[in-house]
Every structure is written in C-alpha cells, then in structure tokens.
Symmetry: C2
Subunit: 261 residues, 2 copies
C-alpha cells in the first residue's frame, strides 16, 4: 500500500464513507488517538504526556491553538473531519458522539495525536506472534490498575493497561519487539500475576472484551491510551474532544519509521 | 581498571596466585568458559554452538588444532595455564580436576571460548537490577529442562538454564538489557511457571544453590553454559577439557564491546 492510499483512506473517512473502526485499514501506516483541549489546559496536558510517555506517547501536536492541521503527521490532515467519530466531554463527563467537529471547532483548541496499540500489534503479527484479541475478533481487554501516573497540574490518575496473553517465550520476544517502538506504548509494563497491579479478575475487563487465556500462558500488560482519558476525567476541563474508541486518524507516518532500531 | 590489569589478573592466575572463583575479578572484562576437544569432534561441536547460540555462545576459538593461543580474546593468552582450574573428562566421564594443562596438552586439541553469565550479570547490576545469587553470595541455581537443543553429530541433549527471580517490571527491563548481549546468552528463554520447561522444584536445583524467591517475583530463566557440558557427556569424546565451574578465563575483551546496541 502506498502513501497515497493512506491519504485516500483518510479522504474516504472525511467524506463519511468510513464511519467505524479503523483497525486493519491502511496497513503499515501509523494510526493515532486524539485529545483536543482548551489552550488553558494544553501545557499541563503536554507535561502529563512528557511525564508518562508509556501510556501517553505523543506523536505530534498542532503548532498553535486553533490549528486543525497537524502537518508532522501528514499533509492535508484536518483534525475536524479525519476521524470516523469523536467523543465530546464537558467537565469530565461524556456528552455525545459526533462524526464531524467543524461546527464545534474553537480558536483556542489544541490538538494532540498519541500513538496507539495498532502499530505494535502489527509489529507482533509481522513477527509471527499471535495477538489474541485479533484472533478472537474482539476489542483488546483493558483494565484499571493501581499504578499511579506522574501528575501534571490537574491531570492525574492511575494507569490503564491492555492485556494480551502469550506463552513465556513469545512474551519475551514481544518485549524485544515492542521495546523498539517507544512512541506506541513501548515495552510491556507488567506480566504475570495481575493482582500485583491491582487487577482482580482478568475475565472482567474495565473496557473492551475478555479473551481466552491458556494454562500455559502469561497475561502481558501494556500501558494503554485510555489512561489519558481517565486523567482528563479527573482534570474536568470545560470541554475535551477525543476520538471514539477504535476510530483513529490514519497518518502518513509509517509504523516502520517509529522503530528506533 | 585498565586493559593492562586484565592481563595482570591473568598473569596472577597463570602463576597460581589465584586458584578459585574469578567472579568479580577484572570488572568490565569478558570472562569465558572453556571447551577443549580433539580435532575429530571440533567441527561437530562448532556446528552445535552455531545451532544453539543461546546456551553455547562462541566468543572465540583457536585458529587450528594444537594452538593454545586465542589472540581474538587477548594477546598472550595461554589456554593451558590461564584458567584457575580445569576439569578432565574421558568418554563423557569426569576424571580429575587440575590447575595446569601443559603436561596433558596434545597437538590435535581444539579450544573453544564461550561467553558466560558474569557479563550480563554485570550489565544487570549496572542498571540497578538486583541479581539474587550475588545478593545472597551463592552460586546461581541451574536446572535441567525439557527444552531440546538442536543436535550436531554426536552432540545432543536438553538445555540447562540458570534462574534469577525478579519482579515483573525488573524482568522486562532485564530482557531489554540482556537482548543487547547475544554473545553472553542473550535474552531469557523462559519466565514464570517452571513446570512448563520441565522444572519441578525451584528449591532443588540440579547445579548451584537455591535462592530466595519473593511472592511478588517471577523466576526468570537464561540459557546456561552447562548445556554444552551435558551435550559433551552425551557425545562421549575420548577426552574433553572444560574450565572448573566459576573458574573462568579473563580476556582482554570488554563487556561493553559485546553490546550490539
């Protein structure tokens, strides 16, 4: 797939021809999470990302408030239209899902694009490792933990993790592979006994769907992009926009570019 | 410590002033295991190392049969005298421990130097990770597994592993660190449930000493240099010399040189 086709998929999303999950679209290209915050909150959120790079890996951001272009991530990107769906929060509470931000857009909004697990899942699959949530065709299971993030201004909270079960040798290989990709959550943060990070029942995820775990497998936990959403709920900014779960921006960046080795 | 001092320690060993464990001597320098085999067996053993690089990481070998210099590992190295102690095997059976090979040396003997865990343990300590066997002042616990090696001619057998318990986050960091050092066993081969690799009781190691394992720790298993000794017992060459456990050759190579990153 060529770079043109990443832009083509983005164009289809912009025209409303693709409205759902972007998983598997434009393979090889980096997909990003979105956080839009009023300028008053932007510096604190930027510091929160800088202090918590594993759950909040910042790929790119708008040059200045009001910009809906993020040229670092791709020519012609329009933050207002290029995600299939958005979630609107006010004072930390969910208000509505919408498919276009154009009517709401304000001149003091700052856009942040964060790396997502699709990139490292692709790297795992390219290395012949199984990704259970993909095999089973469900959303990855995600859990609140007792691992605290570093606070920054009003942004604070515990880390949310995603979990993929693996045999030990595959888990070791996955750690090696994901260590090459610090901008998309990097190496796992925990593996083995879930109670050590405050998870009591793997079959009852806080977000997403439960997956099968074999007797000969370990649960492997990665820092998850839901973490900043929890921190935003805690910060209660007057308004905040995020992408809808699974409905990402397809950038012109390639996953292979993110590999530090 | 300068390169001169590695040679100085080697000289002390050669003169018989150091006769025991070399752990902690000449920090920063690579220490090596020894295997000496008759030329008839050398090609098969070389293939065995090539096929099983994690348990049998070949650092250097003699240029030709009869050579007791291995200049790739250091100027002036004399395989016959520069280990504190040697073990002599005949037809796979242990015969004696000696401190000097000069009287036994034969013109058809080929010398192999293999990487050892001292190098990666140093890297772990340099990264503020605890190495339990060092903390507790004992030999690392080692276990026979049910993980088969790739055979080469008469050399065959299962892998032997060493075990160091760690908290999950430290285990993940240890995997990253050790992945940089493929010539000294590289990344762990297993972690978690020991029964999955045929180990029934961690408190009953096959070699070395048991160590404390905390409730919040995972056992982490590395391929171990005892593996080739088992394969040699199986191959039953008419004669074979190895170093005595813990009594290594101190080379002029630096551990930092072995890092691939």
């Amino acid at each position: 797939m060529t770079q043109t086709s990443a832009a083509q998929v983005r164009e289809q999303i912009r025209r409303g021809e693709i409205t759902g999950n972007t998983s598997g679209l434009a393979p090889g290209f980096v997909q990003c999470n979105l956080v839009v915050l009023p300028a008053d909150y932007a510096n604190d959120f930027l510091r929160f990302c800088q202090r918590n790079p594993k759950p909040c890996p910042l790929i790119a951001m708008a040059d200045k408030p009001g910009d809906f272009a993020v040229t670092d991530a791709g020519e012609g990107i329009d933050i207002r239209t290029d995600f299939p769906a958005y979630e609107v929060f006010e004072h930390g509470r969910h208000q509505q899902q919408i498919t276009d931000l154009t009517a709401l857009w304000r001149q003091d909004w700052v856009s942040f694009l964060l790396g997502c697990s699709f990139s490292f899942e692709e790297a795992l699959l390219d290395n012949q490792l199984e990704v259970r949530n993909i095999t089973e065709g469900v959303n990855v299971p995600m859990y609140k933990t007792n691992l605290p993030c570093q606070s920054a201004g009003p942004f604070h909270g515990n880390m949310v993790v995603s979990m993929r079960p693996m045999k030990a040798a595959d888990a070791i290989r996955a750690i090696q592979i994901c260590s090459r990709f610090p901008q998309v959550h990097g190496a796992p943060v925990h593996l083995g006994d879930p109670t050590l990070i405050g998870i009591n029942d793997l079959q009852q995820p806080d977000y997403g769907d439960a997956v099968t775990i074999g007797d000969d497998e370990l649960p492997v936990f990665w820092a998850c992009g839901v973490t900043p959403q929890l921190a935003i709920q805690n910060a209660k900014p007057p308004v905040c926009i995020t992408h809808s779960p699974g409905c990402m921006l397809i950038t012109d960046l390639r996953n292979s570019q993110l590999s530090m080795l």
